[in-house]
C-alpha cells in the first residue's frame, strides 16, 4: 500500500474518497460507521443524483476520465469498489505520463 500511483498511495486515495463522502453524503443511520465493503446505496449514502456528483469529484480531484460504461454498480457499490476503480484509472493516467 506504500507504492504510489500518479503520486497517490492507495491509502491516500481511500482517505480522500471517504472524507469526500462523509462531507457530501453525510447520513444518519441506526448503527454507526461505514465499513469498506458496506453497500453505499443500501446504507442510503448515495442516491441517483449523488452518483454523478461523485463522478465529477473523482474526475476533478484525481484528473481521471470516467465514461458512462464505467458508472455501474461493480465500480461504485462500496468504498472499496470506488477506491479500486480510482486506483485502476490512476494507473492508466500514470502510464501516459512520461518518466
Amino acid at each position: 500500500m506504500n507504492q504510489t500511483v500518479a503520486g497517490y498511495t492507495e491509502e491516500q486515495v481511500a482517505r480522500i474518497i471517504r472524507d469526500h463522502l462523509d462531507q457530501e453524503f453525510h447520513f444518519r443511520s441506526k448503527d454507526s460507521g461505514l465499513a469498506d465493503d458496506d453497500s453505499l446505496i443500501a446504507r442510503g449514502v448515495i442516491d441517483s443524483m449523488g452518483i454523478f456528483r461523485l463522478v465529477n469529484f473523482l474526475e476533478q480531484r484525481f484528473e481521471i476520465a470516467v465514461s458512462p460504461p464505467d458508472i455501474v454498480m461493480e465500480n461504485f457499490r462500496s468504498l472499496q469498489a470506488i477506491r479500486a476503480f480510482t486506483v485502476n484509472r490512476l494507473h492508466g493516467r500514470d502510464g501516459q505520463e512520461s518518466h
Binding site: 453525510h26 444518519r28 441506526k30 442510503g44 441517483s48 443524483m49 452518483i51 458508472i71 455501474v72 454498480m73
Partner: protein, 524 residues
C-alpha cells in the same frame, strides 16, 4: 376495498406471479395467504377498522404482504421511508397514533416508547426464524415475521361495517411549518384512480409492471393496485439500480417491463445516461409520468429513442391522486411550450377559479380546484388546514384547492402556469421551502434562513439555502447540512448551504426570491 383486487386475482389465477423481488417471488395465491396471516396477527392484537399501522420497511415482498395484510385487518397503512431520520419517523408515528408498525430490528429500541403502539412486528432483511425478541418489559407486544407467518393463512371474516369511505392509507407530505402532514385517502378515492388508470394504461394479465416509486409516494398506488386488479406481475426495482441508469435500462429490458410509471427525472436520467439505444425494449407499451414538469428536450429524445410506447403525462397533487391527464402527441414534441396537464379523468370534475372568486372561462387563468371521487378525506388531525383546502367553490359544494395556477386553452385542455406559494418540486418530491427554512432556524447559530431552487433540466430543480449566522458562530455549512439530516428526508436537504451577511429583501420586507436565485447562480 382495495384488497379485493388481490382476492379476486388469487381466486382467478392463484399460480400467476404477483410480485418479483430480485430472486424471490410470490404468486397471487401465496400473497393472498401471507397477507391473511398479517391481518390475523393484527386482529389478534385488537387492531382493526379505524386503526393506523406503520409500514416502515424497504420495498420488498414483505412490504407488499404487509400493506395488503394491514388493509385486510381493516386498518390504514402508513408507509414511511426507512431512510428517514429518527425525528421524522417518530413524529409520524405519534402524529397519527399508530397502533402497530412493521419495521426492522434496528428500530425496535427507538420505537417502543411511542405511546400509541400496541404491537411491533419485526421484519429482518433476510427473513430467518432465528430472531427472538428481547424479554418483555412492558410496552408494545413484539412479534417476529416468523411468528406472523406461522399463523393460519385462511381468509378472515369480512368486517361487516367496512365501507369504501374507510381509510386505505395515509401519505405524509411536506408541511409548510416544517412538520409533515398526513393526507388521508379512502378506498373509494384509490379505486376511482386505479380503475381509470388500469384501463388507460391497458394493463393486461401477466404484464410486467415496474415498481419504481417508493410506497410512501402516491405513484405506487398505480403500481400496486392496478397490477393486482389486472392479475399482472409487479417487478420491484432494487433501490441500488435506480442509482445506475445504465443498469436500470438493462433491468427494464431484461425483465420485459411492459408498463412503467415514474417521475420525469428518472426518465431523463435514463435518456441522458442510460444508453437506451443498446436495447430494443420490445415489451414496453405504456410509459406514465407524473410529479413534475418533463423538460421537452429530454422527452423528445426519449420518444425518438423509444417510439413504440404510448406516453402519458399524469397530473394531480397527493390530495387528489391523479385528476387530469394528457397523451403525448408528435405535435407536442414539435412545440416549445410545456406539455399540457390535459383533460379531467377518474370521474372527477375540474374548475378554474379566478382571483376574484369567479369561474374562469377559456383563456383565463385561475387556481385549479378538483371535485369528485379521487379527493382525500382530509389532513390527519388538522381540521383547520383541511377546511382551507377542502370546501365549497362556485359551482360545487365540495372541491379541493390545489394551489396550482392553470389556464384552460380552447378545446378544454389545461396548462400549468405555476404556484402562488413556496411549494416546489425536486425530482418529483414536494417540498415546502418554509419547512426547510424552519428546520435551519432550529439551529442555535442560525438567525435567518432562505431556501430556494435552481432549475436544471437534466437533474431537475436543485435545492439550495442561504443563512445568516449569529456573530462569532463557528458553524460550517457541513454542520448545517448534518443538522438538516436530523429532521428532514434526504430530498429536502439542500445540496448546498451558503452563509451570507444579510438576506436580500423586497421593499415590503419579505425575502426577495428573485435576488436569492441570482445570488445562488453566481456562486461557483
Amino acid at each position: 376495498m382495495l384488497f379485493q383486487y388481490l382476492e379476486d386475482s388469487a381466486r382467478a389465477a392463484p399460480a400467476r406471479l404477483a410480485v418479483i423481488d430480485a430472486e424471490r417471488n410470490l404468486s397471487y395465491g401465496e400473497l393472498d395467504a401471507a397477507s391473511n396471516q398479517v391481518a390475523r396477527a393484527l386482529r389478534e392484537q385488537g387492531i382493526g377498522r379505524g386503526d393506523r399501522v406503520g409500514l416502515h420497511l424497504d420495498k420488498s415482498l414483505e412490504a407488499v404482504v404487509g400493506l395488503f395484510g394491514i388493509m385486510k385487518a381493516g386498518a390504514a397503512y402508513v408507509p414511511m421511508d426507512p431512510a428517514s431520520p429518527e425525528w421524522r419517523v417518530k413524529f409520524i408515528a405519534r402524529d397519527c397514533a399508530l397502533s402497530a408498525i412493521l419495521t426492522t430490528p434496528a428500530w425496535h429500541a427507538s420505537l417502543r416508547d411511542v405511546e400509541s403502539l400496541r404491537c411491533i412486528i419485526l421484519v429482518e432483511a433476510r427473513p430467518t426464524n432465528t430472531l427472538r425478541p428481547p424479554p418483555g418489559q412492558g410496552g408494545p407486544v413484539l412479534l417476529t415475521w416468523a411468528d406472523v407467518r406461522a399463523g393460519s393463512s385462511a381468509s378472515l371474516e369480512p368486517l361487516a361495517e367496512a365501507s369504501p369511505e374507510d381509510l386505505a392509507y395515509i401519505l405524509y407530505t411536506s408541511g409548510s411549518t416544517g412538520q409533515p402532514k398526513g393526507v388521508m385517502l379512502s378506498h373509494r378515492a384509490a379505486h376511482a384512480f386505479v380503475d381509470w388508470a388500469a384501463s388507460i394504461a391497458r394493463v393486461r394479465a401477466a404484464d410486467r409492471v415496474s415498481s419504481h416509486a417508493p410506497f410512501h409516494v402516491d405513484l405506487s398506488v398505480f403500481d400496486l393496485f392496478a397490477t393486482a386488479k389486472c392479475a399482472a406481475t409487479l417487478v420491484l426495482i432494487p433501490a441500488s439500480l435506480s442509482v445506475f441508469p445504465r443498469e436500470l435500462a438493462d433491468f427494464i429490458a431484461d425483465r420485459h417491463i411492459a408498463i412503467w410509471y415514474s417521475v420525469p427525472s428518472a426518465l431523463t436520467q435514463l435518456v441522458a445516461r442510460g444508453e437506451l439505444t443498446r436495447h430494443a425494449f420490445p415489451s414496453l407499451r405504456t410509459v406514465l409520468f407524473a410529479g413534475e414538469v418533463f423538460p421537452l428536450k429530454y422527452l423528445r429524445q426519449l420518444v425518438l429513442t423509444l417510439p413504440r410506447p404510448r406516453y402519458f403525462n399524469l397530473y394531480g397533487p397527493t390530495e387528489t391522486n391523479v385528476c387530469t391527464f394528457h397523451v403525448v402527441t408528435p405535435a407536442d414534441l414539435a412545440r416549445s411550450a410545456p406539455l399540457p396537464i390535459g383533460q379531467v379523468c377518474c370521474g372527477d370534475e375540474v374548475f378554474v377559479v379566478r382571483d376574484d372568486g369567479g369561474l374562469a372561462g377559456d383563456g383565463e387563468e385561475g387556481e385549479l380546484c378538483v371535485a369528485g371521487p379521487t379527493l382525500m378525506s382530509g389532513y390527519w388531525g388538522m381540521e383547520e388546514r383541511t377546511r382551507q383546502v377542502l370546501g365549497p367553490i362556485p359551482g360545487h359544494p365540495l372541491a379541493c384547492r390545489t394551489g396550482d395556477r392553470v389556464i384552460r386553452e380552447r378545446g378544454g385542455s389545461l396548462c400549468l402556469l405555476g404556484r402562488r406559494d413556496d411549494l416546489v418540486k425536486v425530482r418529483g418530491h414536494r417540498i415546502e421551502l418554509s419547512a426547510v427554512e424552519v428546520v435551519l432556524l432550529r439551529h442555535p447559530d442560525v438567525e435567518e434562513s432562505a431556501a430556494l431552487t435552481l432549475p436544471d433540466e437534466l437533474t431537475g430543480n436543485e435545492l439550495r439555502a442561504f443563512v445568516v449566522l449569529r456573530d462569532n458562530a463557528s458553524t460550517s455549512p457541513e454542520d448545517l447540512r448534518q443538522h438538516c439530516a436530523n429532521y428532514l428526508p434526504r430530498y429536502m436537504i439542500p445540496a448546498r448551504i451558503d452563509a451570507c451577511d444579510a438576506l436580500p429583501k423586497t421593499t415590503t420586507g419579505k425575502k426577495d426570491r428573485v435576488r436569492l436565485q441570482e445570488q445562488a447562480r453566481q456562486l461557483v
